[in-house]
Symmetry: D3
Subunit: 135 residues, 6 copies
């Protein structure tokens, strides 16, 4: 299995609901350094998994829609705890949608698995990994 | 599949038995920077894989029991080479036991896989990954 | 010149005032991974610059007072942009005060320079470095 | 499942064919920081996955054969784009061959999976992972 | 003294002249991960050393002029070994010129020192640090 | 000012004397990831600060003399606490001696400052920096 990974980041404010979160129930924030991995069993006809430049552009656009925001006021997350692992899934869904829309090129249809990891500090990170459902 | 990972470290002395180890047969030591990853297919009702604060506390306690020791004199390792990969398994077993004892919270029972990686330098690391047997 | 450095982190929300900040004028947040360096020309009688454990505890306490907060509502920062470089200076001042109060031990009086670096992402960081004024 | 990983690097020149590569169609170059991971379900009789020193020596030899070269002039790659993911596979094949030749020791025959990751920058990397076919 | 640092990278081919370089006399290449640090004794009226976004844009433009090139064919480097330390100085000069041209904003005139570090691998890097001569 | 830095590591056992060290008074150990920086105001006639290959070889030899040892039994350290900062100085002295002996080449006589940093974990490191006294 081949893979290609790219890294970018975004910075947000949010708070959590539930006593398990302790002081993180207060409004605070985070920098998330995001790694997006694309996997496929064989390379495409250019000899690549996905174009790295295009992958970086796509991830930048997806993170740009979240960057410099207070997620507590984001309508799409109403009633949800925007935890690191939850956001990994959100970004996963948007990367998969970008593949289906062809934003990563026609040959990116051969990508079978995507993994999104969010590093919230030097001592904690979370990820979501799933298959790219065929459209 | 979702995952959450936390990082901590411990520092020990030990020596190895067997000519394959060359100069590492002498008493020496290591800092192990330890990453513990928890995986589960769905988030719990708080929207998390496991509470990161609790995970950090649990890992700190497990590593604290090994920290600042000469493993050659640890009764539980008599007759064993405490290699990096062996220690990854030891810590894996103790993390799984902590899950079963409820130290990571009742909802941590949903964790299916644990992976423990020990970095012994900037050029070498080892890991053990296994399923959390249901108790 | 000798130095010892320790690392910890904190997570906050804030916003900036001034068109130079562009989208960062909106409420957002950051994880700051903080490195605090202590320098002195000679080691103390224990053969150290400062006790690493004590340094980690002191830095943890200083960052703990900032952690999980919305800095826009912090009375001590009213009317100030809590930029990365500004916060580096704030933490520098608090580390120096801790040295003067003896929280790092009597021998820490020999520390001459402190440097505080805050990493806000994998591509940007800031620092403040200054002398420890003799009390 | 146990694993051991080692890291080394090599530096090459090359160019790519195909409009997808944009400016990378020009002759340029890269440093590849290479991680090679060895996996097996049980430790060998020495309590290891593979001897780390021997693994480092083997990887150094394999990368040494590529180091300081213009891959556009390497006969073995004629007509191929030597992309990061392609090179990950090349190195995978050579590591597997080294295992089969016994260069990692007789007990290394128990290694079942090898993963080779090449970091081309702080924001992009690629990997190839596969089973070690039994000879 | 305050500082702000930003990171980006570029990828080039080149060769060296002189027996000291051994196999690096052959045409090869490198990824350089570049850190540019800006220092000044006091913050500007916005509370910053330099705008991080603008600093990233300026560094991207400077590195873009070198990226995906064979430096052996760059007219500006004829007769020079484009070593890591030499390139650090080249980039330093271009960053200083950008400050003087006002590309980092009028207040960037207060920057007194610039340091440029180029990481060529995980085990080697070089830097050039100098004062920003007042124009 | 120009600089070149190289990285390597060594692994040792030791214990400390003095109540300030708490549990580190017990026999334990550490991996030290070592960065050695060489500084000079002008490049030599080859366009370098020092040959990186030669620097790596010299550092490897110096660290090799410490590697896989119990420093409590090293005659040269009798009666001393082999703390991270103390060891940084020991290695500094040996690097300077190597420069004076010409092991880094005749042109390395132009090196004016050496800095040695030892990383003992992901959250703590120490360094010694000094001038290369002219012989």
């Amino acid at each position: 299995m081949y893979s290609v990974s790219v890294r970018d980041h975004f910075m947000i404010a949010h708070s959590f609901t539930g006593s398990v979160f302790g002081p993180a129930q207060r409004l605070h924030g985070a920098t998330y350094v995001v790694d997006v991995e694309f996997r496929r069993p064989e390379l495409d006809t250019d000899g690549i998994v996905v174009d790295i430049g295009r992958a970086l552009d796509t991830v930048r656009a997806i993170l740009g829609a979240l960057n410099f925001r207070n997620l507590d006021e984001a309508p799409e997350f109403t009633g949800r705890n925007t935890t690191t692992e939850f956001l990994a899934r959100v970004i996963f869904d948007r990367v998969v949608a970008a593949i289906h829309k062809g934003e990563l090129g026609a040959q990116a249809a051969g990508i079978e698995v995507v993994r999104v990891a969010l590093h919230e500090s030097h001592v904690a990170w979370a990820a979501y990994e799933g298959r790219v459902a065929q459209s």
